[in-house]
């Protein structure tokens, strides 16, 4: 690494000012805990319902009044679901799609964002606006034209169609651009003086500094792809290509649904997200604090 200039901007350390241990106000802290605890219960209640429903028979899921603890625990739901649907195939497809789309979105998004945030050229803002403008159109409106393009390209009923569709969205570009704006231009200038090309500046200065944003972009893209239902539903017909969300919907029939199975599957499908979330947390919370700049 050739970058030896000390950055003009202050070295970045975690921003947690009101929490200096010596200054902690016990009452305020207690209040914060109380608030958070109440809230945590509130946010976890539907999840608890989901887990409880996953251990019931279909007919007992929507009992009125709600039965929080199942009368009998049907643990076999968690084994039966593997026989009812090819869950392993669905999970593998979901993992493949989510990882590929996330990786591409993060790479191309952060790359394009540098162009929007740190390079000035005519038409830049108009182009950026076009990006945002497309987010403003609901997918319900352009679903059919998009499908026709894909059909013409012969990509319908392949994973590639979904990858192409979702990997180049405007969301990542927008998010990363906003984050890059907070990185002082002086850092880039210093890189330039050191003889780095713009690509070098992106790779060696800007990218390492934007780990928190990259991590949150990756997390949110992953979750959104993982939970996407309409995209896979429209584009994937072959059962072997289905994702977990399609698998779960296959328990919804013409007139009724097997809700216990749906909830069992939902619980299982949350687990990978949870793992990713727990792993990713350290990036968007501690972020650049530990590595920072040399």
């Amino acid at each position: 690494m050739t970058l030896t200039v000390s950055p003009p901007a202050p070295v970045q350390t975690p921003a947690n000012p009101p929490s200096r241990p010596r200054k902690a106000v016990p009452v305020r802290r207690a209040l914060a805990y109380l608030l958070l605890s109440v809230l945590s219960v509130a946010v976890l209640v539907p999840f608890a319902w989901m887990v409880s429903a996953s251990l019931k028979l279909d007919a007992d899921v929507f009992s009125v009044p709600i039965q929080w603890i199942p009368a009998e625990f049907h643990w076999e739901n968690f084994t039966n679901i593997w026989e009812r649907i090819p869950l392993l195939t669905y999970l593998r497809n979901s993992v493949f799609l989510s990882l590929t789309i996330t990786a591409l979105q993060v790479l191309t998004g952060s790359f394009a964002a540098y162009g929007f945030a740190k390079v000035r050229f005519p038409g830049r803002d108009a182009l950026f606006l076009a990006y945002i403008a497309t987010i403003a159109v609901p997918w319900q409106a352009y679903m059919v034209p998009q499908y026709i393009i894909m059909q013409k390209a012969g990509l319908v009923n392949t994973h590639l169609s979904l990858i192409l569709l979702q990997a180049f969205g405007a969301f990542g570009v927008f998010l990363m651009r906003q984050y890059y704006l907070t990185i002082p231009d002086e850092l880039c200038e210093a890189g330039r003086l050191d003889g780095l090309s713009e690509y070098g500046i992106w790779a060696r200065i800007v990218l390492p500094l934007s780990k928190p944003a990259l991590a949150s972009l990756a997390l949110l893209t992953f979750v959104n792809t993982w939970n996407d239902y309409m995209g896979p539903f429209i584009y994937l017909t072959d059962n072997k290509l289905w994702t977990i969300q399609l698998g779960l919907r296959s328990f919804v029939g013409l007139y009724d649904a097997e809700y216990a199975m749906i909830m069992t599957g939902s619980v299982l499908s949350v687990l990978p997200i949870l793992v990713i979330f727990l792993l990713g947390q350290k990036y968007f919370v501690r972020g650049i604090a530990t590595s920072g700049l040399k």
């Binding site: 591409l104 059919v144 499908y147 026709i148 059909q151 007139y255």
Partner: protein, 423 residues
């Protein structure tokens, strides 16, 4: 540390690519020159009649191979619309309901089957006329569901009510009976009846039995049926509509766990009950009776809707596809459907005997009478206005049932909106 993220992501992508192998491409044409037709249908694994029809057809036509294109039931029509917009060539399309059918038919997306339809006897196919689009037919029905009254035998016996009492029930009789069957409180309450949240439970019943026209924009004929339902809801015989709707209560829960004694519902529910009894998911002893009537002249009028197969205009194997559609609605197809525990479009004594011979199907006079209604009226008339009217009626139904609008205001609003908003 700082550059780990990019390689990690790249590695993840590569890894994912590797795991992706397999799962593309479908079986090609068999070498012996046999044809393969694709049939768009829903929930193949849990809808037994599809497999029954496909197996039966392949046996009768060994040179044609049928490949199901499995689509989720939930948004079936939307997916088919999108596929066809893209020029999809799936040969046979299942028509989930007649409103969807009329949309595909009038857009010219289906192959005419008028000649084939003329060969069928309209007296035996009560659902056939629903597919008449200005003299042309684009689909043939293979299945016909209609509404009956389900009842819990054990609970009825407990209350000392004879099953034969349900044979000639009027709605007034139903209301009185349901009220007397209501017992208990809170979590252990048993409702005398359960009427699901759908508007058809009230509105299609009223239309069928009074001869009212659901598209007319004049809805005075709903009044008796609504008053009865609202009264039952008020005196606690029915679960409040608002609770049932917001808690997403399923009719299967209400009936099969013994929370309700009587339940008007379509014949499709019988196949669910048969399957659930077989797999041990429910132990409810159930029976079927004719739908209660408005008039007490002993005639049974109910409502229902048929399901049909149609041939895609873009099909590359249209002859084979037509063969499939014809077979499914034929006597042989109907037998296969009946054996799967589902009510076929074709009615004949032989079919009825086949159905009632299935293990678990309630026998006896009441059930058999339930399966021989004098008249089955189409649940919703087919027209280009149907879905707009349906939307308005659904919205106003919610307001009447939640008590946000009085019955008279609600009915007046329905008429007003249908007349002004539907062109």
């Amino acid at each position: 540390m700082k550059r780990h993220l990019v390689p990690t992501l790249a590695a993840a992508a590569a890894l994912a690519l590797l795991t992706a192998c397999g799962g593309s491409g479908s079986s090609d044409q068999p070498a012996d020159g046999a044809q393969t037709i694709k049939v768009a249908l829903w929930n193949y694994a849990t809808t037994p009649e599809f497999k029954a029809i496909i197996d039966g057809f392949q046996q009768a036509n060994p040179t044609i191979k049928v490949e199901p294109v499995d689509i989720l039931a939930d948004d079936y029509a939307e997916k088919v619309t999108t596929m066809l917009a893209g020029g999809d060539t799936t040969d046979v399309l299942t028509m989930k309901n007649v409103i969807d059918y009329s949309r595909f038919g009038t857009r010219g997306q289906l192959l005419p089957l008028t000649d084939e339809a003329k060969k069928l006897d309209p007296a035996k196919y009560s659902g056939l006329s629903a597919y008449d689009l200005e003299g042309k037919y684009f689909a043939l029905p293979y299945r016909q569901d209609f509404w009956v009254l389900y009842y819990n035998k054990a609970l009825l016996k407990q209350a000392g009510v004879e099953e034969s009492k349900l044979q000639n029930l009027t709605w007034d009789g139903y209301a009185t009976l349901a009220k007397s069957l209501t017992k208990g409180d809170g979590g252990t309450k048993v409702y005398g009846a359960y009427q699901h949240t759908w508007r058809s439970v009230v509105e299609a019943t009223a239309a069928a039995q009074t001869g009212g026209d659901l598209l007319s924009g004049d809805y005075g004929f709903f009044k008796d049926q609504y008053s009865m339902t609202l009264d039952l809801q008020k005196n606690g015989t029915l679960m409040p509509w608002a609770t049932a709707s917001s808690q997403k209560v399923t009719y299967n829960t209400m009936f099969s766990t013994g929370k309700a004694v009587l339940m008007p519902m379509g014949t499709w529910y019988a196949s669910t009950l048969l399957a659930d009894t077989k797999s041990g998911k429910t132990k409810v002893e159930w029976g079927m009776a004719p739908l209660p009537q408005r008039a007490s002249d002993g005639k049974v009028t109910t409502f229902g809707s048929p399901t049909a197969f149609a041939v895609n205009k873009n099909s590359k194997h249209s002859d084979a596809a037509k063969k499939f559609v014809e077979w499914a609605s034929s006597e042989a197809g109907a037998m296969a459907v009946a054996k799967a525990g589902v009510t076929p479009a074709l009615t004949s004594q032989q079919i009825l005997d086949t159905y009632f011979a299935l293990p678990g199907v309630p026998n006896g006079e009441v059930a058999k009478q339930a399966f021989k209604p004098d008249k089955v009226v189409l649940e919703m008339p087919v027209s280009d206005k149907s879905s707009d009217v349906d939307q308005i009626l659904t919205e106003e139904h919610e307001l009447i049932m939640t008590g946000e609008k009085s019955l008279d205001d609600g009915l007046a609003e329905m008429s007003k909106r249908v007349k002004s908003e539907v062109r």
